[in-house]
């Protein structure tokens, strides 16, 4: 019984809690954050159960209102969506636990709408992933985007402007996506993804299909911060408050990447995508440029959050590159990187939040070696996450790059392989720079002894999520064979 309703339960949990939080929050503000934690925890539990259930029993299709598609709207819980739902809900759960402390400082008195919106954003993301209807996807996309804009608008002084720019670009992207859906609907007469997949081969040559594909890629690419459309990301992530960034950065772009996967690999299929123009290759090249651009810009930054934001642009490139490779290894690498990057980025942004809370800034040039004494666990987590970002074994980050490299070789795509290697080096540059600052004395100041710092670690509710993420990176590194085994089964071809 519960199995057949699972897709709905996951999404509806968030609706329920987004309603409960105002109800209780108007009465007692302090309850908002625990409620949000409970909500995402329940959803994470559902998605974990659902994924196990998927492995045993296969996919679930849930018909809303009892109307079978293509008449009604369905939620599809298959391997890909199950995997993504599990990743984002688990990450969100920990980030929401984390956000309790910083929220008291960053937006006092606004907990109620904040957490209600966080729940709504998760609803949007889950809905986008689960839905089997292209227009329904748009609706959820807007829910997620709108709440995302709002969460970003909370933060430093320029935050609303960053959010406004994101809103303009993001809504334009969403509108283009809608136009693409319109084209597809015009020529196929259906909105259901499964239905459309079956029809697609007959319309592959039509110019409207190609245009629809381009529009959708552009529209979703805005959300995914694919290279030329990434302009909104650095400012937004930098000025937004810690809890928002930690919540949006690991999840938002991934979900957009999911849609690209769904559209390009499932609805169109790679042959049809490339039938008229080599679109997947173009996307891959854009991803490559994005990887290099993001890495180089990250090196130039002195603000840790901004650096991480640029690094996000680069890391998204890996995922999209795996998509454009369109072979099993590339797919597995991209999927694994979704998981890894979600965890790494959440961990790193949480660390920058820890530093902001305690030090009041996260400016790399002001880091010194007393941090190691003051925040031993935070810094240990940072080391793990950073080394994983660089891609050194046995941490998780290495393996996604390994599979991506295998994928590029399978396609004999030496350009992409070179990009992966070069960007790993660039990653090393900007992460080891921080490690050097934190773990060593500054030679230029002529300092003889390490600055003494007393133990000043953040509270447990902030520390635990950070360290759990760091540990899970190691665990994933050793367990990735299992994960990849599952992922290879999901691959559609």
């Amino acid at each position: 019984m519960i199995e057949s309703h699972l897709p709905a339960y996951i999404a509806l949990t968030f609706v329920l809690f987004s309603v409960l939080i105002p109800v209780f929050g108007l009465w007692k503000r302090e309850l908002s954050q625990p409620l949000a934690v409970i909500g995402s925890g329940v959803a994470a539990a559902f998605s974990l159960y659902g994924f196990i259930n998927y492995l045993n029993n296969g996919a679930i299709r849930y018909y809303f209102g009892g109307w079978e598609p293509p008449i009604g709207i369905e939620f599809v819980y298959d391997g890909l969506s199950g995997f993504f739902v599990l990743v984002i809900n688990a990450v969100a759960f920990f980030v929401l636990i984390y956000s309790g402390e910083p929220s008291k400082k960053e937006f006092p008195g606004k907990e109620m709408p904040y957490y209600a919106l966080a729940m709504l954003m998760m609803l949007g993301f889950n809905g986008m992933i689960l839905t089997g209807d292209l227009f329904n996807l748009y609706v959820f996309l807007e829910i997620a985007s709108l709440s995302g804009y709002a969460l970003i608008a909370i933060g430093e002084k320029p935050a609303p402007y960053a959010a406004f720019r994101y809103l303009i670009i993001g809504t334009a992207g969403g509108t283009l996506y809608l136009l693409g859906v319109g084209f597809l609907y015009t020529i196929t007469g259906t909105l259901n993804i499964i239905d459309m997949t079956a029809m697609m081969p007959m319309f592959a040559e039509s110019s409207a299909t190609v245009a629809a594909l381009i529009l959708m890629i552009v529209g979703i690419g805005v959300k995914a911060a694919l290279f030329p459309m990434h302009g909104w990301l650095p400012d937004s992530y930098t000025y937004a408050c810690t809890s928002s960034t930690a919540l949006i950065a690991p999840i938002g772009t991934k979900v957009a990447a999911y849609i690209l996967f769904r559209i390009i690999l499932w609805v169109f299929g790679i042959e049809l995508t490339d039938a008229v123009a080599p679109l997947s290759y173009v996307v891959g090249v854009l991803a490559c440029i994005g990887i290099l651009y993001g890495s180089i810009m990250a090196i130039a930054q002195s603000e840790m959050k901004r650096m991480l934001a640029y690094s996000s642009i680069s890391q998204i490139g890996y995922i999209i590159m795996g998509l454009s490779l369109a072979n099993p290894w590339g797919f597995a690498g991209a999927m694994l990187h979704v998981l890894n990057h979600a965890i790494m980025k959440a961990c790193l942004f949480m660390i920058s939040g820890n530093l902001r809370l305690k030090e009041g800034h996260s400016d790399i040039s002001r880091f010194d070696d007393s941090y190691r004494k003051k925040y031993p666990w935070t810094m240990a987590s940072f080391s793990v996450a950073a080394i994983s970002m660089v891609g050194l074994p046995p941490l998780a980050g290495f393996f996604s790059k390994w599979y991506l490299a295998l994928g590029t070789i399978d396609n004999s795509n030496w350009l992409f392989l070179a990009v992966i290697l070069i960007s790993s080096l660039l990653n090393a540059v900007y992460f080891f720079r921080i490690l050097e600052k934190v773990y060593m004395m500054d030679p230029e100041k002529g300092q003889k002894e390490p600055k003494d710092g007393t133990y000043n670690e953040v509270k447990a509710s902030m520390l635990w999520p950070t360290t759990i993420f760091a540990v899970s990176l190691i665990v994933i590194g050793f367990a990735n064979a299992v994960i990849v085994g599952i992922l290879l089964d999901i691959f559609p071809m």
Binding site: H5, A8, L12, V19, P22, V23, L26, Y62, F64, G65
Partner: protein
């Protein structure tokens, strides 16, 4: 906006117009089955009728109508009506928002659907009205950024 307009004609005109718009709003919600209209349009009309007074009369008069603090609960109630309809049908063994499963005795499925749609339209109408007023109120008040 914040203060009352100086001209009495404006406020008088809006006070005259407002009830009719409101009635029309309710009509649109309930008559959505037969003619164009429904929850959104009706809710927007209801909101318009109240906003009209607010625009003309300023904040002082707005207290006489729906007060600012009441909008959030109203919006929640609107969402809950819709959500609960879905949950009830789910609890009765159907899919989410499967109106055939609503526990109203003595009606065949088609009429159940009819009433199901009506219920959610009311929910939508309430929520839209409350939220549009909420947006207006908050925007007029402005932000008190430190």
């Amino acid at each position: 906006m914040r203060r009352q307009f100086d001209s009495p004609i404006v406020i008088l005109g809006s006070r005259l117009l407002s009830p009719y718009i409101m009635v029309f709003g309710w009509y649109v919600i309930f008559h959505g089955h037969y003619s164009p209209g429904g929850g959104f349009q009706g809710g927007a009309l209801l909101a318009a009728s109240i906003l009209l007074i607010r625009v003309a009369g300023g904040r002082r008069i707005s207290r006489l109508q729906i007060q600012e603090f009441a909008t959030t609960p109203l919006a929640v109630i609107g969402v809950v009506i819709y959500f609960a309809t879905g949950l009830v049908s789910m609890a009765m063994g159907g899919y989410f928002l499967d109106y055939e499963m609503l526990p109203i005795p003595g009606l065949d499925p088609a009429w159940l659907r009819y009433y199901g749609i009506l219920i959610i339209e009311i929910g939508i109408g309430l929520a839209v009205m409350a939220i549009l007023i909420m947006i207006y109120d908050n925007m007029v008040r402005g932000e008190d950024y430190a």
